[in-house]
Symmetry: C2
Subunit: 203 residues, 2 copies
């Protein structure tokens, strides 16, 4: 998103200095470190700027406030889950889904920031929007997994999709983000096995 830089460029076709991309990225990095360290609500843009070796104007020129800054930073981080194709069976699909989740949840910064996003989403509509956007690709992939299983005949047409979508990520999220345990390859297999059984039992 260069939303605002491009706005400005359009307004200034003649000679002009441009925002340094490297500083923008340094600001993103500093934001995430501070976020992980203090949580969003206690996040100080002053500290972020200092950590990035910049002045506060560098932030306020780029973004109108903390939320928009965080919003674009989250987008830039690419918290999105990588898509994947049909793995041939529900259990294989779920294993692939869990493995993608694990990749995301393994980032130490993600593990710290994600519960914070959810906590803050309970308080602010803007953060709710951010959290929804983060969840979007995950939910989309989960839906595809369910749909494929139905068309394979592994799950009944009439399955309660809401509940099915509850089961897909929950055990991994619980273990890795809430409890903060690691997840070995063998345990990942067992989680996929259990989740598959849970889904197949839903009718």
């Amino acid at each position: 998103m260069e939303r605002k830089s491009s706005d400005r460029k359009a307004r200034a076709p003649s000679g002009a200095a441009v925002q340094k991309i490297e500083l923008t990225e340094a600001l993103y990095r500093a934001l995430f470190f501070e976020w992980a360290e203090h949580g969003f609500s206690a996040l100080s843009l002053e500290r972020v700027a200092a950590r990035a070796g910049a002045g506060k104007a560098a932030i306020y020129r780029r973004w109108p406030g903390k939320l928009q800054f965080a919003d674009e930073a989250v987008n830039a981080l690419g918290l999105k889950m990588a898509a994947f194709g049909d793995k041939g069976s529900l259990e294989a699909d779920i294993r692939a889904f869990h493995r993608r989740l694990r990749i995301v949840f393994r980032h130490p910064v993600v593990r710290k920031i994600l519960p914070d996003i959810y906590a803050e989403a309970a308080r602010s509509d803007e953060m709710k929007a951010i959290s929804d956007r983060v969840a979007q690709t995950r939910r989309d992939e989960a839906k595809k997994v369910i749909d494929r299983a139905i068309s394979r005949g592994e799950l009944p047409e009439a399955i309660d999709r809401d509940i099915a979508l509850d089961f897909l990520p929950s055990s991994i999220y619980w273990r890795m983000v809430v409890i903060k345990s690691s997840l070995s390859e063998a345990q990942l297999r067992l989680h996929a096995q259990g989740t598959t059984a849970a889904l197949k039992s839903l009718w």
Copy 2:
């Protein structure tokens, strides 16, 4: 916990005024409201005192700091899950477990504070201790459910208990606290059904 009031009383056997319990409880209530509203890291004891209609000394005389205050408040809230006896089958036990979870997760304040506790637990050891203590009774009940199922022969002796304990609360937590959806009686039944199937598939 009257930890410190009793200390003081012991040191002052002669005539003395005593901390008013009603004010202490008003402070707890104010703490929770402010906590839910601003999150722990942005929690201001000044606001808590004001909300309780008290001065700040009322807080600082009772507790050395925010964390200890929160610690005792959480204990006083009784976030502990109610114990329950053998319901005759694994699925019935799980349903009872989920129902107890639902009671706790339905409190609007709990729903806001719980993710915040977990987020903060990733940053501070003291909050980690609080969160562990909150989780204690839940984990104990979960273990009992597993043990009973094993002795009934519904689960194998060699079941991976870690994973089993992951599955027991995770889908309910995910739905009610992370996603913030409600959970109807029928959905609760399906969650128990799915969780039971997941556990039985783990060997």
